[in-house]
Symmetry: C2
Subunit: 352 residues, 2 copies
């Protein structure tokens, strides 16, 4: 080993879902929104002047912050934005999780939590979900250096009712609690309103799912101004200008069009509920997802076999080769047309 | 203090140059390029389909990496990209600077180095520049946990000849050496070709200055595949998708148009050299800048007074209220028209 290699940080990186290169894949593997962003986004994009890109963006992303603060009826100093919710959560880990005590997150949840903790040398414990993939709030009643969990949980889609979320926060007033609501718009009740009651609560959301803007990388957090100031200080010690001009401008436009937002959510929820019925008929079972995906296992056929067969036919779903998860498929909700093709294939494949 | 506040990371953030809100400011304070990005960038922007933003970007930014690898005649696995060179350098600090020994950087240089070291709890020493703001290569001959310096240096604009850069690298084969070439295109010789000779050398550049794309936030590093793999692993442990769709696409377009690139550099260099003559005539002195700014001090008038007077007239230059720097102004090179207004004001102001 060369001397300079000794001081390289050793990590086991997160593995994102595949981005297939094939011609017309049916992509049900990364929980993207099957519908395009709001018409106002396209319009604003058309009107942007690429000549202006020679200048730095607004390092405070004020236009986007303003749109979010109006939508959530909070002050601008209660909102933080970053390069996707991954950037927001990584910054929050760096800012808030500096205790000697371990942080807590469910053993089955967003697999990036473990990666961030390892990267930043944060110790952690992972209370186990029960056999139905449910979080038990009592598991979070012990001393800790912070808590994070997704709600709805990933990759199960299960929603923790807001009273239980609040119960966990109420039992933990000595550390920062992060509720990762990447999928909340598809059927859950957000903890945002609890941020006024609990100063140690940070709620994180993203534009990548419900707002159809994964390609622009925008995430945000809402919390007490003291939390927001602290994470902004860390952000400004890392990179002053994170969101670029298109993200700030088009993110703001996406928030403004509430009608389009609600309509596209309704379509996805409708397709999800129909998909649940069809999956059941085909012999699948699954936690009752409130997200834009379904985490399903089949009574007879192995998840890996189904995954491979789908893949050969250019239909991509997510398969996790890990204990407890390796007989499930995470199926993102696509358009009705995409789901039709998915089910047509499954019907033939499963009747073999 | 609330209990959860005890574990907040304490930092003193970097302060970026002001982004004035006034109507038509003359902005000579953040080293932006006064000319728009290449015509191909505008064209590609017009042709982008905002509907595609619903999907995740390519997490490997392969189109941009390919364009850079072709431009620099290196392999794709010798190139890393990030959200501006700040993101690239922050990632590199996290990846490579994990020694017990302090890292080294000049006492007068990019002020973000100290901020990153503090944020990441990296110890450092800052060898002093001499009274003419010159780096002495012998100061970097001692054991260290890594070395970083800008070339040309900021905010002085002074270029270290490539032989001296190589001398520093040759004397330091046990740690990673980062040469931060944010301004190299304006008159210096890049160390990129040395990356094939020294496996521990990482050369960092940016699209924010010479490529007129500060608003898109794109930076990159070139080095041995082992260095690039290590920093990519850390990046993928932090945020899988950093560059968004417009950055990947338009960054690649900017690299392809070499003719426009060379022409706009020539214009800036010509304006810089003319500005040096005019500043001298007006009683200023300055290190001989090879960057797109001039770091000047006046024989009679205090830098702070000149800064304030300019500012009142909507002309913005950068003033650093710090020891050794506080009687200098960092003046970015604007268009000829902007420089004309700047000098017209100075002539009147200094003759008072």
């Amino acid at each position: 080993m060369r001397a300079w290699e000794k001081n390289i940080r050793r990590v086991a990186p997160y593995v994102p879902g595949e981005q297939p290169k094939s011609e017309k894949p049916i992509k049900l593997n990364t929980n993207e929104n099957p519908y395009p962003p709001a018409p106002g986004v396209k319009q604003a994009f058309k009107e942007m002047d690429a000549g202006q890109f020679r200048k730095y963006p607004d390092s405070t992303s004020s236009e986007l912050i303003k749109a979010l603060s109006e939508y959530y009826q909070v002050e601008e100093n209660e909102v933080f934005v970053g390069v996707g919710s991954d950037d927001v959560i990584a910054m929050a880990f760096m800012t808030f999780f500096n205790s000697e005590l371990p942080i807590l997150f469910p053993d089955v949840s967003y697999s990036f939590y473990k990666v961030w903790a390892d990267l930043l040398h944060i110790s952690y414990e992972t209370p186990a979900l029960d056999e139905n993939f449910c979080i038990h709030k009592e598991d979070y009643y012990k001393a800790n250096g912070g808590i994070i969990f997704p709600n709805p949980n990933a990759p199960t889609g299960l929603l923790l009712p807001l009273e239980e979320v609040e119960d966990i926060i109420a039992h933990n007033q000595d550390s920062v609690i992060i509720v990762d609501e990447a999928y909340i718009d598809f059927g859950g009740e957000s903890a945002v309103r609890l941020t006024r009651k609990y100063e140690n609560l940070l709620v994180v959301q993203t534009f990548s799912k419900s707002r159809s803007l994964a390609g622009l990388r925008i995430g945000y957090a809402i919390g007490h101004p003291d939390l927001i100031r602290a994470v902004n200080d860390v952000k400004n010690s890392y990179n002053s200008y994170t969101l670029n001009m298109p993200s700030i401008k088009l993110g703001a436009e996406a928030v403004k069009d509430e009608t389009y937002f609600k309509e596209s959510l309704e379509r996805i929820v409708k397709t999800r509920e129909e998909s649940k019925l069809r999956l059941k008929k085909l012999g699948f079972s699954f936690p009752d997802s409130m997200a834009n995906f379904i985490f399903a296992t089949h009574k007879d056929r192995s998840a890996k076999d189904i995954y491979k067969a789908l893949r050969e036919n250019h239909i991509y779903v997510r398969y996790f080769d890990q204990p407890r998860l390796d007989n499930h498929l995470r199926i993102s909700i696509g358009t009705d047309e995409e789901m039709k093709k998915f089910f047509e294939f499954l019907e033939v494949f499963l009747s073999d």
